[in-house]
Subunit: 373 residues, 2 copies
């Protein structure tokens, strides 16, 4: 079934608590405002995802069982965010290989290679997808025995990828905490939060950690056209977690910076080149220029797996061009004339020189990033 | 009737011709691709407007007869664009005062003052609105006689405002022509075209004149959130006139400039202060910063009536804050969570130092603009 099984619009199975706002005291630590969790195993071993296309209007979970389910969910952005795509692909491999458990070693590995190729072709820009698939492939190669034994190893490996991502998010948040003082006004673009990862996000991780530590934080959220991941996803997960936020049209960020209403800008990344140039949601580059012009610190937060040492500079990062309909139509209404051309790159590249620092699970660091970094 | 009378979704009464594309020769002058006309008198003397909220999906004309019709049409952006708002207010005064023609002088002038107050309060930023109303008020004051005679003078004055705007647009286009060489790639924001004026627009006027002169011009159109005047209106009127254009999300303009795909940026203005600071659609300022950073010439095109010598700098221009629903909902769908705050300024102010020059009906000029300029 191409879109997986829509299970519910209520909240079963997701560890979301209604927000308990932390009092504004530096001495109070709140663990209660746990951000939403966008991926989990279903009881019968399918990949259960929160369909991010439907938020914030509806909370729809889908169970993905086949490689087509998973590939379609990634391509259509039911599951999105560079780290989460990697996790979904790894977990999707496990679910899709379940019927092959009885196969002999060579047949199982051949089937695995097919599925890796399908999933690897879903989106070109994020490196985490290829990183996760390669890690799964190598785990399978290194495991002894036939299908059943290899599959068990893949289950463990997918679980490790998810758990490590959760831990990486936490470390990013802790590394970024000193950059988010009490009273900070943070501007972010797109969604690099819990909905983009297995944990508390990348760009939003320092915000969540600061909020949990009792610091007052206000997040300005670029709505992020065309698919509105800022308005629909970031604002939603922040309000669910009790973090105050304000949504604005992307084009309003300039006036906001000119009015000195922003103390710090934090964005995520879909791929970071060895020299520190990085690809992120279209619009990130314009924000970086505005930040430079207004002398507002501009940070990129990402797990180490987002660094692609095989790509020397941003010139080498492939940029996904998405369908014109994302720009020309909305909710079934046409918003541009048929005769007009459309430019719809999903990402842009921000050169490293615009970035004050990279907030990673290995601390707040500067490029270049070698193979061992 | 609050929204006027919706008359038709086809094309009666508007002078729109299907585009006749000019061959790419500098020797060929085309007058055939006449831009759309968004305002006219109806046969029975109402103000007939093209409802700009419905474009590009539907072409709906409305006949406005009362001051409430006209005020509502301006407030709800059925009629928008600084010059067109002024024209609509002037013509609206005429239509709304028709029933008062039999009144004695003092009663007629008292009623006029009431209507001027209602229309003047519809939108705060554009100066053309107040300029047109003041001009109508003074014409009435200076006219001798009772209601009927004064009304006749107002008919002539509203007609003059419309005709002068048409001529101003033409002169702006001719003044800007040298800035649009053959092959030019022009970036614009919002709609400062035929749909914003009585003629061929302000920012788009040089484009239309260059196109008519046989020059190849390509226009990149910022979609212009939240109300999408770029995608819905600018792209529509350009394609109707046969001018090639490409729509992009506002946030994509940075990457476009970085890729050196833009030769010149031209925007309109809603009010220009004496020192040359100007208010225009939210997002204009961010474009100006990007233009400076990428050394792309950035022009503001506007009729002289947009200059407000009573306002010394941009600090003195009031900025309209519009309803949050423009950002949080679209076509009946909620796109941001209810608990999130919203920032929705209709305009921002771009300081004069970002502007290469002002393209006006008095030529390509530099600030400061005195009372006599």
């Amino acid at each position: 079934m191409r879109n997986g099984n829509a299970t519910s619009t209520s909240r079963p199975g997701f560890h979301t608590h209604s927000a308990l706002r932390a009092p504004h005291s530096a001495f109070y630590i709140s663990f209660s405002a746990m951000p939403v969790q966008p991926i989990a195993w279903s009881p019968n071993g399918a990949v259960r995802i929160l369909d991010q296309r439907a938020l914030p209007e509806a909370r729809i979970e889908r169970d993905l069982e086949t490689v087509d389910d998973v590939a379609d969910a990634i391509r259509t952005l039911q599951v999105r965010g560079a780290p989460l795509i990697g996790i979904a692909a790894a977990m999707g491999l496990v679910a899709a290989l379940r019927p092959s458990r009885g196969a002999r070693r060579e047949a199982f590995l051949a089937r695995l290679a097919e599925l890796v190729a399908v999933l690897g072709a879903t989106r070109p820009t994020a490196v985490n997808l290829r990183w996760a698939l390669e890690r799964m492939r190598r785990a399978a190669q290194d495991a002894p025995g036939d299908g059943g034994a290899i599959w068990d190893r893949l289950v463990a490996q997918a679980g490790a990828i998810l758990e490590e991502d959760r831990a990486m998010c936490r470390r990013i948040g802790e590394a970024g905490l000193p950059l988010i003082p009490d009273g900070a006004r943070v501007l972010t673009h797109c969604n690099a939060g819990a909905l983009a990862t297995g944990g508390i996000g990348t760009a939003l991780a320092p915000v969540y950690v600061a909020h949990a530590a009792g610091r007052r934080v206000h997040v300005y959220v670029d709505e992020t056209r065309p698919l509105l991941q800022g308005a629909r996803l970031t604002a939603w997960e922040l309000t669910e977690a009790g973090v105050p936020c304000t949504v604005l049209a992307d084009a309003a960020a300039g006036a906001l910076l000119r009015a000195k209403e922003v103390d710090v800008i934090v964005v995520g990344a879909d791929r970071i080149a060895a020299n520190g140039d990085f690809a992120n949601k279209i619009g990130t580059y314009a924000l970086a220029v505005l930040a430079l012009h207004h002398e507002v610190p501009f940070y990129c937060a990402a797990p180490s797996s987002t660094i692609d040492p095989a790509v020397a500079t941003g010139e080498g990062i492939p940029i996904e061009q998405r369908a014109p309909e994302e720009v020309t139509a909305f909710a079934g209404r046409r918003i541009a004339p048929p005769a007009a051309g459309v430019l719809n790159p999903a990402f842009d590249v921000t050169p490293a020189r615009y970035v004050r620092a990279f907030i990673t699970d290995r601390g707040v660091v500067q490029p270049p990033f070698g193979a061992g970094s």
